[in-house]
Subunit: 282 residues, 2 copies
């Protein structure tokens, strides 16, 4: 394998001082509590500018990726609704119910939402919002990412990537992890097909979900309970693109390729029902 | 919320020069191609020692986390088998078939393997191995992590965490991401239950899969096609523990809590079959 064709070959935009073998991730302080109507792009620019005054090495450069928690995007968009309307809000956000689970407090619905994301409660969130309210996911996180990217370019003259992140559970794994629900200027999937390993054999795990891994890395410094919904990831410049690109929507896999379109119990019950109905004379 | 009780409060072992709001991840070069019987711990120690000569800031300190790709652990354990035996090897590693999918090249089995991991082909890997062979997952990745941790403590006198990582697909998402299949000295799940957000409300997404997020962050600098299966993550010292802890096995969620115990098609077919058999007189 030649280094030039390998995934380590950075684009010309990557600063020489930041080799692709090293990553630096930081979470600037100072973003105020966001409310509906806030100009989020300006607020983020202000925070990043102030942060770089305190530490000049944090000045944004080409190839950096800015990660923003979706919650603050939702708040700026006024996506808060009254908690009394939570179940209706989940229904409104739902394209398709994947699975349901009863528990002492009610029923959790795992659904595919209008963004194509499969999430508990459709991604509707009841934490980090004022009492009596819940928060819906942003209207169009890819568009929000593009807008922030344009604002950062205008303010700092840099070509960065942007990720809007959210938190989700995963089948078969305990705990939640962050993933990308919006993206701009970023190769969200790194296609390694055609590349070979050190033995010259084709790689089998061929498409890496780079944007999700960046969201997870950022989460390690942002934290869930704190007021730091913003992080910068430096060292992934080889994934930053000139175009805004297809965004995080291209990370969604639903439809015919989805082998887990229904929860096991739901699919089993459907099979049972259909079998009985297949012979109406019974 | 007081800062002292928040997740940002680092243990005393964390170096003051590395605030928890900043993460640094690097992938040292120089680990040789691993073959069966190699003393992997000594080889990793040698690589880390040489790397710190080139860059003293990379000298391991308390609170660092060392991430090692499972592939090199498997190789040191001699877990290569002849490619002709691949299907049998997958069967041997399988506890339970979750789903199967036919494709032009044959049938992919997604199974729960003996480590509790749900993976395509049980995690048996056909890349980055010599021609004619495939590689099984390590026998006991948590034990491998503990051994490496002990070796690093002996060599450098530091208390670090260790993650053994592997790559897996995810339902509903395109692309693969790295996760932790072995761990030692690390709080693999950060339990935020009882913590409150900035509004004083209990956090709803309450358990973060820290070890998986660390594995994903490390993957961004290791890369898949290259000979850099080793990374160091600095800045997550608040998750490094004095005890080896329960390991990555505790990240596994199978059994009654698993709502995706079977693929939708498999569960549907089972329901259909059981319905017809429920009335043997048909």
């Amino acid at each position: 394998m030649t280094e030039a064709s390998g995934p380590e070959a950075g684009p010309a935009t990557e600063p020489a001082a930041e080799p692709a073998t090293e990553l630096r991730v930081w979470a600037p302080d100072g973003l105020p509590e966001i409310v509906a109507g806030d100009d989020l792009v300006t607020l983020v620019v202000d925070v990043l500018r102030a942060d770089a005054v305190g530490d000049p090495s944090r000045r944004l450069v080409d190839g950096d990726v800015v990660v923003l928690t979706s919650k603050v995007v939702s708040k700026a968009e006024g996506r808060q609704v009254a908690a009394d309307d939570r179940e209706q809000a989940i229904t409104d956000e739902t394209v398709r119910v994947v699975a349901t689970r009863e528990h002492p407090g009610g029923v959790t619905r795992i659904v595919e939402n209008r963004l194509g994301l499969v999430m508990a409660a459709a991604g509707v969130d009841a934490s980090n919002t004022p009492d009596g309210t819940v928060l819906l996911l942003p209207l169009d996180p890819d568009a929000s990412a593009r807008a922030l990217r344009a604002g950062l370019r205008a303010a700092f003259g840099v070509q960065v990537g942007v990720v809007v992140s959210d938190t989700a559970g995963r089948p078969w794994r305990q705990g939640v992890a962050d993933l990308a629900i919006g993206a701009a200027g970023l190769q969200v999937l790194e296609d390694l097909r055609g590349q070979v390993d050190t033995f010259g054999r084709a790689l089998t795990m061929t498409v890496a979900a780079v944007a999700d891994e960046i969201a997870s890395a950022a989460e390690l410094v942002k934290g869930k309970a704190t007021g730091r919904p913003l992080a910068v990831v430096r060292g992934v410049g080889r994934h930053v693109t000139a175009e805004d690109g297809p965004g995080a929507r291209s990370l969604v896999r639903v439809g015919p390729d989805d082998m887990f379109r229904q929860g096991s119990a739901e699919a089993y019950a459907q099979g049972w029902k259909d079998a009985l109905e297949s012979e109406p004379g019974r």
